[in-house]
């Protein structure tokens, strides 16, 4: 060690120690727990469970698409129900809940150096309301008429009409009720995450020393608190249309030769409300992924993140811009052409901060000491996948290109790459990365590598051909792709191929699930800091961290989260809570 000046002055405490709620019984410790870490595990487990339901639904869909006419029980109605529930579960109940409720709850207090979320009781309620929302959603599978088959966007008027499965039964009502509950539950959690990041950081942890994971989750939560209200309002209004017979979204309409009672509503209004939520939602899922992947890359390449400030501003900029692009989902809905012009422009502008992020990840890797651990593999896979999905986003952001491609398999391929596969790769990488902290044991390496390669290559084999199918004009949301002239022989073969790959990739997730459960008891002992990482969650006195996270005294932060391979330091990483001024740290002043 050279060039070390005496320890930095300790900044005065502005926030006093929080009073912790101490559980007295097994119930309050593990079930009705107010500890953010337990809540995080509850959130993650519930989200994973419902995610596997959605995975099975995608199998059923691929059975039908790949081998049309073979499976009698998949009627067109059932197919629409599968597609709707698959989409809604994946976007909201899996991705949003896992990133914010799961990773947010676990990582925010640990990474900012807090003992818990600021309002643990409200945080606990958040999970239980989320669970209720999931149960209401699942109950629609058993309701008369089955779940709704309106498509995950739930566009009226069809969503509440007779021809749509669940439209005049319980399906749509349960769906809307479940969404309303989800939003209420999420708001309770989201307020906690935001206030914890803003107001409850430990000494020395300035905003510009936060790990990018926290920045991503924080910005996404702020966006969610502003975007979910639009969905809430849309759900309330559609529920009134369906239950009370109001006409918010229902125009005068004739159904099976019969004039319906509705009159004068605007279906487009629903689309505006839905996408004012729906587009920020894409980034609510993507920003935590951006943040987490930055930390994974920096840690496993043993190098400081390139352009930390730019990364932060890019996250915030993407978050702000995503509120003014929503109508690019509505180019074919009938809008004034100048609207299309405006929204195409804003959409393409988002590519700039996004590209900054991608360049910075690549520059972080450049001349790094890259360890091809499993989290790193997933992080690298994410960069590639995200670039691919993002580039097709530039296609679809242009009105003239979007119009012919709209409602084709190209769109399906695009959004699965960019907001399906890419964030899931990050989630998987993050689980491999933080599992040792949560359980104290490593996940099995061999199973992990098998899981990675099958998932990564398999996802490409599923979604790459879909771009081609879309370009030749194969429509999405068709229950049977048999008697169409555009369905060439090769398209049929590709479809079957995609289906088989989908089963294989799904199977790999079962292996992953097995690994998760098996390693809790049989995994290799991890120790406190297996990746030799700098952030605070790896510096806890116990692993897994105990109630209160940091033992007697909260850590004091002396540096940013990316002091890897600092010349002159004894180790190739310096944890954030280690004092001392190493002259060659790259922390921005």
């Amino acid at each position: 060690m050279v060039d070390i000046t005496p320890a930095d002055a300790v900044p005065p405490a502005e926030v006093a120690e929080m009073e912790l709620y101490h559980p007295h019984s097994w119930w309050t410790k593990y079930v009705f727990s107010q500890d953010a870490k337990v809540i995080a595990i509850q959130y993650s487990a519930t989200a994973t469970a419902i995610g596997f339901v959605a995975l099975s639904l995608s199998w059923l869909m691929r059975l039908q698409l790949g081998f049309p006419g073979t499976f009698d029980f998949i009627t067109p109605e059932a197919y629409y129900q599968f597609i709707t529930m698959h989409g809604m579960i994946m976007v909201i109940y899996l991705l949003t809940a896992l990133f914010l409720g799961g990773f947010g709850n676990y990582l925010i207090p640990l990474m900012v150096g807090a003992r818990d979320m600021v309002f643990p009781y409200v945080n606990m309620l958040s999970y239980w309301i989320y669970l209720l929302a999931v149960l209401v959603l699942v109950s629609s599978f058993f309701a008369p008429g089955g779940p709704t088959g309106a498509g995950w966007t739930l566009y009226p008027p069809q969503a509440i009409m007779t021809g749509t499965p669940g439209g005049q039964d319980w399906g749509i009502i349960l769906m809307l009720a479940s969404l309303i509950l989800f939003i209420i539950g999420f708001t309770m959690g989201g307020l906690n995450y935001v206030v914890t990041v803003l107001q409850a950081r430990t000494r020395g942890m300035t905003m510009m020393r936060l790990p990018l994971t926290v920045w991503g989750i924080f910005t996404a939560t702020v966006m969610a608190l502003l975007a979910f209200p639009a969905l809430f309002v849309a759900c309330v209004m559609m529920l009134l249309d369906r239950v009370l017979g109001t006409s918010f979204f229902m125009p005068a309409i004739v159904e099976m030769g019969e004039q319906l009672q509705h009159n004068g509503g605007s279906p487009i209004l629903f689309q505006h409300l839905f996408w004012f939520f729906g587009h920020p939602e894409v980034y609510i899922v993507a920003l935590p992924a951006f943040g987490i992947v930055s930390d994974l890359i920096s840690t496993h390449a043993r190098k400081n993140i390139f352009g930390y400030r730019m990364m932060v501003w890019a996250i915030v900029g993407i978050g702000a811009l995503s509120f003014v692009v929503w109508a690019h989902h509505m180019y074919v809905s009938g809008m004034h052409p100048y609207f299309g012009f405006f929204f195409a422009t804003t959409t393409l502008i988002i590519a700039i901060p996004t590209a900054i992020k991608v360049y910075n990840w690549v520059l972080t890797l450049w001349r790094g000491d890259i360890h091809l651990t499993i989290p790193m593999l997933f992080a690298l896979a994410f960069i590639v996948t995200f670039v691919n999905g993002g580039l097709t986003g530039l296609f679809l952001g242009n009105v003239v290109v979007d119009v012919p491609l709209s409602d084709t398999m190209f769109v399906v391929a695009h959004f699965h790459m960019v907001m399906g596969v890419a964030p899931i790769l990050v989630i998987l990488g993050a689980i491999y990365h933080w599992y040792p902290k949560v359980t104290g044991r490593m996940l099995d390496e061999t199973l992990g590598r098998f899981h990675f390669w099958v998932t990564f290559l398999g996802a490409y084999l599923i979604f790459f051909p879909m771009h081609y199918l879309g370009l030749i004009g194969i429509p999405r949301r068709y229950a049977e792709l048999t008697d169409m002239t555009i369905m060439t022989e090769s398209a049929h073969h590709l479809n079957s191929f995609i289906s088989i790959m989908a089963f294989i990739v799904g199977f790999a997730q079962m292996v992953f699930l097995f690994n998760l459960i098996w390693s809790i008891r049989h995994g290799r002992e991890a120790g406190g800091n297996p990746w030799r990482a700098t952030t605070l969650e790896w510096q806890t006195p116990q692993t897994p961290p105990a109630h209160g996270n940091f033992g007697k005294d909260l850590p004091i932060v002396y540096r940013w989260a990316y002091d890897y391979s600092v010349p002159g330091a004894k180790e190739d990483f310096i944890p954030q809570n280690v004092p001392g001024n190493f002259g060659l740290s790259k922390e921005p002043a």
Binding site: P11, P12, A13, E14, V15, A16, E17, M18, E19, Y21, V118, F119, Y121, V122, T187, G190, L191, N192, V194, V195, L198, Q199, A200, R201, T202, R203, G204, M205, T206, M207, M208, L225, L226, F228, P229, A230, F232, V233, A234, V236, M237, L240, L244, G245, T246, S247, F248, Q261, N263, G264, G265, S266, L269, L273, F276
Partner: protein
């Protein structure tokens, strides 16, 4: 809750003023909003989120109103009351608005007395606020009853666009729910003040957190917000 007590153990460096000061605060140590407690920060952020909900409701209502092809019922006539043989337009809603705005005044006084630890006056003023809020909800119930008896339904009304009734019941209903929740919590907090919970730092029944007199102010933030929203509903629904 002791987390808002600023325990500066050393001297703080002077902070720059103006925009630079804002940036410096945001990027500074431990807390972005100095002197703002967790509870207050949480209420402000919740209100921001709630603003978006009411904003979406009102924008949807305006969309429905400007795009309808049948006439919109005239609010001056619909919301008139016959008093002493004379139709007085908007009289009930004027009284309701007056009551609700007055309740903001009593709430502000309650906050003031709360910080002086004057338990009796704080509790009385909070209960008065709750009573005014309940009066508001009561008059709203009367208005609903009157309109329903005249044939206004969520799906239609005798005078014109069906969306009139839908928007009216939905928006005033959602606002009325907010007021009702506010009344309930006012009574709860008033009870705690009366009992002296905030003087002895008695832990909450559910949360096991110790309350402070600042809770009165946080309650007040919510109450003023509900009032402010009413001003917008009043302007856009009744005066348009």
């Amino acid at each position: 809750m002791s987390e808002t007590t600023l325990t500066h153990s050393g001297q703080t460096a002077p902070r720059p003023a103006g925009l630079k000061g804002i940036a410096a605060d945001w990027a500074s140590d431990q807390r972005a909003f100095k002197n703002v407690s967790w509870g207050k920060a949480m209420m402000w952020i919740f209100l921001l989120s709630d603003t978006f909900i009411f904003g979406c409701f009102l924008l949807s209502y305006m969309t429905a109103r400007i795009s309808t092809r049948v006439p919109w019922p005239n609010p001056s006539e619909v919301f008139a009351l016959r008093i002493g043989g004379q139709e007085i337009p908007l009289i009930l809603i004027a009284i309701m608005t007056f009551v609700l705005i007055s309740s903001s005044g009593t709430m502000a006084m309650a906050v003031n007395f709360g910080y002086r630890h004057d338990r009796r006056k704080t509790a009385i003023l909070m209960l008065l606020t709750a009573a005014l809020g309940a009066t508001f909800v009561g008059m709203q119930a009367f208005e609903w009853t009157k309109l329903i008896s005249e044939g206004v339904r969520p799906w239609g009304n005798p005078w014109g666009a069906a969306q009139f009734g839908s928007c009216f019941f939905m928006i005033t209903g959602f606002h009325g729910t907010h007021v009702t929740i506010g009344v309930i919590f006012l009574i709860i907090v008033a009870h705690k003040v009366w009992r002296g919970d905030y003087d002895v730092g008695r832990p909450g029944f559910f949360t096991s957190r110790r309350g402070r007199y600042e809770n009165v102010e946080i309650m007040g933030l919510y109450w003023h917000f509900v009032d402010l929203v009413w001003v917008f509903i009043f302007a856009f629904f009744y005066l348009w």
